[in-house]
């Protein structure tokens, strides 16, 4: 395989002169196209489409974890879910978490990227430092911050001279999860911003400098507009990821629901219903509701993007 890469460099010259390429391509493609996507589609059908359809079916039944003896109950599960205060609480907790994490992470990632981009020496070192926490498994990050927030022996309170009951008071418990999440995941968005910053053509800045624009002016009129797309991406990815928060929250609360159930997220509630209360039918209904919600967010972003592109033209 290593030798062919050299050939490929030479070949383009001949390609243009070839006649009838379109027909060749069409013929070849029609023959084999399906086979290229078949392995993926098989896995995709088994582990994405089938669970989706199965979840939809189960959500109309009272199925339990043992997988037998389910009977059809119509819309009962959905009716119950919409009236279940715990569903709304859990949704509220996930939304609250998202509301705190998304703006914080976006701003922090941007600032870190600006910092790393403008320091002239040792870029690799800053990149390493800022990105490092992201390489840890979520459960390790959760355990670490549980330890940092531990009453009495926790370093956070010790260093800051505080006496805050981070993990045991309902007004702080979710905040503790947010802090852990910021530390753990900001590196990913940071890298996206950094890549985007490095992708801004240098001549834009040089032109502005020649026009006598100051640093602030350059940032507002060049940097920020050039980062608009990446900001949209960061925000969208963070919203989708934050709504699905689970790992850190349960680990920091020893798989419980936090003080007065203040850290029970939507994912956690669904899993409790399915695997602790064995109500697979009901859990499927809440899953489908969640899927619709996630899909709405994703489609909303696509719609915004399309509108913006059309507006731009």
């Amino acid at each position: 395989m290593t030798t062919t890469s050299a050939e490929t460099v030479l070949r383009p010259a001949r390609a243009g002169t070839a006649a009838g390429t379109a027909t060749v391509r069409r013929g070849q493609g029609f023959q084999h196209g399906g086979w290229f996507v078949a392995p993926f589609l098989a896995l995709f059908a088994l582990f994405v489409i089938w669970p989706l359809l199965r979840g939809l079916y189960l959500s109309f039944t009272d199925a339990n974890i043992s997988g037998d003896g389910a009977s059809f109950v119509g819309l009962d599960n959905y009716r119950e879910a919409l009236q279940d205060p715990l569903v709304w609480d859990a949704l509220g907790h996930s939304a609250f978490f998202t509301l705190l994490v998304v703006p914080a992470i976006t701003v922090l990632a941007f600032l870190l990227a600006m910092l790393a981009h403008h320091i002239e020496r040792g870029t690799w070192l800053w990149r390493l430092c800022f990105f490092l926490p992201f390489l840890l498994p979520s459960t390790v990050a959760g355990n670490l911050w549980q330890w940092l927030f531990n009453p009495g022996t926790g370093m956070v309170n010790h260093v800051l001279g505080l006496d805050t009951p981070w993990l045991t008071d309902k007004s702080y418990a979710m905040l503790a999860v947010v802090v852990c999440t910021l530390w753990w995941t900001v590196g990913f968005s940071f890298l996206l911003y950094l890549a985007a910053l490095q992708g801004i053509p240098a001549h834009l800045y040089e032109a502005a400098r020649l026009d006598g624009a100051g640093a602030w002016h350059r940032m507002v009129h060049i940097t920020l507009p050039m980062l608009r797309n990446i900001t949209g991406l960061v925000v969208a990815l963070q919203i989708l990821a934050s709504l699905q928060v689970f790992d850190q929250a349960v680990v920091m609360q020893d798989f419980g629901t936090g003080p007065e159930e203040s850290t029970r997220t939507f994912v956690q509630y669904t899993l409790e219903q399915g695997f602790t209360s064995y109500r697979v039918g009901y859990a499927s209904a809440t899953s489908i509701i969640f899927f619709v919600l996630i899909a709405a967010v994703a489609l909303g972003r696509m719609w915004l993007l399309r509108n913006r592109e059309e507006g731009g033209r």
């Binding site: 069409r26 086979w35 669970p51 199965r54 459960t139 699905q244």
Partner: protein, 284 residues
């Protein structure tokens, strides 16, 4: 790369640069402090670790937590399991998503557009969203508490197909057409021309998949209950050794779980950064 250019030019230390560098160092210190604290804790005895008020440096450095964690055996089993699962997932993902990305980008078949639309819905499905139905599916297949039950559901990432699809769309058609004229078939073109060309993209997808799989908690947590089969993140969170929470050991275990990726990162930083940025940016 732009960074390389900037580093090579030997610029003087301006006051602005000094301030920025100090600021960077301070921020780095804050970000790394929790890890340093974990390391310090892991080098203390269990009783020293829970002393109130806490202190940073161990008064008596001891490797007991590390040796206890290593001797216990669970942790090494989990490391092996993590490696097995991540390698298998990465291999399968690379293979099927490269084929599918190419198939969608460069071949024609009936219903392609519709299928592409269906695949896009896959971007919204994850074990966090559809974990319960996914579990019952895997249960039906008899794959609960097996390696395959952990591996296969991680092997259909629509996002990776989409990224490679975008990449393959950017490959000049002329390259292939020349080969077709020479009589090469689709498969030969794919393996001898397209794949070597797309090595950076494949590396990005592979690295991203590997990190994701290595650190994946939710799905392995749902589908594995047998501690022998657990991966590192799952085992650390759900199985304790029989002596209760021992923070020094927990920190040692956590660092051990994080260490392989950190080492890999230090050595392959440029590829990984490009990989993460690339996979992320492709979603724009």
């Amino acid at each position: 790369m732009t960074t390389a250019v900037r580093i090579s030019g030997r610029r003087p230390w301006t006051p602005g640069q000094i301030v920025l560098t100090l600021l960077g160092a301070a921020v780095s210190a804050v970000i790394l402090a929790p890890l340093v604290w974990a390391l310090c804790t892991s080098l203390k005895s269990e009783t020293e670790a829970v002393e109130v008020p806490p202190h940073w440096l161990p008064r008596h450095v001891t490797g007991q937590a590390w040796s206890a964690v290593l001797e216990n055996g669970n942790l090494t089993d989990w490391l092996v399991n993590s490696l097995v699962v991540s390698v298998c997932v990465t291999t399968v993902v690379l293979l099927v998503s490269a084929l599918a990305g190419y198939g969608f980008a460069r071949t024609e078949f009936r219903g392609k557009a519709a299928l592409m639309g269906v695949v896009m819905t896959g971007l919204m499905v994850s074990p966090a969203v559809l974990g319960v139905p996914l579990f019952t599916t895997v249960q039906q297949m008899g794959m609960v508490d097996t390696y395959w039950g952990m591996i296969l559901p991680q092997c259909a990432p629509a996002a990776m197909v989409y990224i490679l699809y975008k990449f393959f769309q950017g490959v000049p058609r002329e390259l292939e057409e020349a080969a077709f004229i020479d009589g090469a078939g689709r498969w030969r073109v794919f393996f001898t021309i397209i794949l070597p060309l797309s090595r950076p993209s494949l590396a990005a997808v592979g690295i991203f998949t590997f990190i994701g799989s290595w650190n994946n908690f939710l799905w392995p947590y749902m589908v594995t209950n047998n501690p022998d089969l657990m991966t590192m993140p799952n085992g650390i969170a759900t199985v304790m050794n029989s002596y209760g929470i021992q923070w020094a050991q927990l920190m040692a275990g956590g660092l051990m779980a994080g260490l392989p990726l950190i080492v890999v990162f230090v050595f392959f930083q440029r590829q990984i950064v490009a990989g993460v940025a690339h996979t992320g940016l492709a979603g724009q």
